[in-house]
């Protein structure tokens, strides 16, 4: 489970370089998020365009990632594939996370 970070138009982007966020990698994902999230930045965009599959453990790990941010900090999502988008919609987690069609769209806001 590899996360890479870069700045795009002044926005911090975290890209998940993996095709799955599932129970087998959920703890790793949380650990990596802890490493890449600073405590002073108010907004991050998690780029999920490579992720083809997520289960409820993966969903929980992304929620846990958001909780690592300081109060008022935002973790937004971009590039959700249909199977991933469906999990967020079904669990109504799409009401908690701002979801952007792509990193470009997220960075232009």
């Amino acid at each position: 489970m590899q996360l890479t970070t870069h700045l795009q138009d002044g926005v911090d982007i975290i890209t998940v370089d993996a095709t799955r966020i599932d129970a087998a990698v959920a703890i790793q994902f949380k650990d990596r998020m802890r490493e890449v999230l600073g405590t002073d930045k108010p907004r991050y965009v998690l780029d999920l365009h490579q992720v083809e599959f997520i289960d409820s453990s993966g969903l929980g790990a992304i929620v846990a990632g958001m909780k690592l941010l300081p109060k008022g900090g935002k973790l937004e999502l971009a590039g959700l594939r249909p199977a991933v988008d469906k999990v967020f919609r079904m669990t109504r987690m799409d009401s908690i996370f701002a979801i952007h069609p792509s990193v470009e769209a997220a960075a232009s806001i």
């Binding site: 409820s56 453990s57 969903l59 929980g60 199977a83």
Partner: protein
């Protein structure tokens, strides 16, 4: 892992895995590989893998209490309009003798209190039909069906 094509066109996969998240992941990847190129493979937007993953994760976490060394048997029958799945394990029975009702999580809470789990049975129940569970004193047997929308002809 064994795969067999039946006379009626259904595709049958049976396998055994160890009670670890890694083995669950490997099994799901192997099943996806087997389905590659099969005419009966569900369309990409089908949620079969999510349902099967959630049930298997629950077996690892609850029936086997996150301990490796437990056997999980999985049988999948991919038919034209439905996938039927049978899960067998030899771990602890469901606490109330039945699978959880799977109520949706309450999200109307401050961020720090948002749930990080408890979505599994909600997803399973939302996406399946004919869910049956029994414990026969030795093993848990769970069966369910997942409707598959027919593939649009090319």
């Amino acid at each position: 892992m064994q795969a067999e094509r039946l006379d009626d066109g259904a595709f049958l996969i049976s396998c055994r895995m160890d009670s670890t998240p890694d083995d669950v992941q490997t099994t799901l990847l192997d099943i996806n590989d087997l389905l590659q190129g099969e005419e009966i493979a569900p369309p990409p937007d089908c949620t079969w893998e999510l349902v099967v993953a959630e049930v298997l994760n629950n077996i690892v976490e609850h029936a086997y209490q996150d301990r490796a060394g437990g056997d999980i048997l999985l049988k999948l029958r991919f038919g034209h309009d439905r996938l039927t799945v049978e899960f067998t394990d030899f771990g602890l029975p469901m606490p109330s003798g039945a699978p959880p009702t799977g109520a949706p999580a309450n999200l109307d809470v401050p961020v720090e209190d948002l749930p990080e789990g408890g979505f599994g049975w909600f997803l399973i129940r939302s996406l399946t039909e004919n869910l049956n569970y029994c414990h026969d004193g030795r093993r848990n047997l769970l069966t369910l069906a997942i409707p598959i929308s027919p593939r649009t002809p090319l």
